[in-house]
């Protein structure tokens, strides 16, 4: 059962542009929403995370926007760089349920010069 829907599947952005990846979740018990970045041949690495008590979190060029009523959250990468080219996964976690991270299907981001 897919509980986290991620889009788009792939994304091409010009260097310096804004990359936007969207996720939607179904389980209202989710209370922690991380984004992971994965380079080829590597495991996923935590990029940034948010809890539903805030609507936005920014770390450097990376921002998570969270809409609790719509059950949606998104990752914005400002001033996208070629080094940002990777696969990005959103995930959701339930602290008081089965304590399991549920990942989205991933977005392959390519930044072109």
């Amino acid at each position: 059962q897919q509980q986290v829907k991620q889009s788009p599947q792939s994304l091409i952005v010009q260097k310096g542009g804004i990359s936007i990846i969207n996720c939607a979740y179904e389980n209202t018990a989710f209370d922690y929403f991380p984004w992971y970045q994965q380079f080829p041949g590597k495991g996923p690495a935590l990029l940034i995370a948010i809890r539903p008590d805030v609507s936005e979190k920014k770390e450097g060029r990376f921002t998570i926007s969270f809409n609790k009523s719509a059950k949606q959250f998104s990752l914005h990468i400002m001033d996208s760089q070629p080094g940002d080219s990777a696969t990005y996964f959103c995930a959701s976690y339930n602290d008081f349920g089965n304590e399991k991270l549920t990942f989205g299907t991933g977005t392959r981001l390519t930044i072109i010069p």
Partner: protein, 115 residues
């Protein structure tokens, strides 16, 4: 600080053969996870250990998969016999404390191809 170590990095076997993957978590991390990542998909949890205890193995296909974490440190995941559909990347992750959400640190994975 050394990261999560996994071996082998790649494995090619014929169907019906056994295979084993090894993981050494970050020193001091009590929680260890095994995930399976199919091509073009996100990781899916197979089993989670808190120290030596498997606290969530609900997604582990127990007819052919087994795992152990002796002494609460490194862990082995085994498949016997392997099937074509087992071709995937098997990721190990660890986190520092038991209970609640903690940053999970992933290893590079073992890429399995079953022919």
């Amino acid at each position: 600080e050394a990261g999560v170590v996994q071996s082998p990095r790649y494995k090619i076997i014929e169907k019906k053969q056994p295979v084993a993957f090894w993981c050494n978590p970050i020193s001091g991390h009590n929680t260890l996870y095994w995930y399976r990542q199919n091509l073009g998909q996100g990781p899916e949890l197979l089993i989670r250990y808190e120290n030596e205890e498997a606290v969530d193995d609900s997604q582990l296909p127990k007819d052919r998969f087994s795992a152990e974490r002796l002494k609460g440190v490194d862990s082995t995941l085994k498949i016997q016999p392997a099937e074509l559909g087992d071709s995937a990347v098997y990721l190990c992750a660890s986190s520092p404390r038991t209970g609640g959400v903690e940053t999970q640190y992933f290893g590079p994975g073992t890429r399995l191809l079953v022919l």
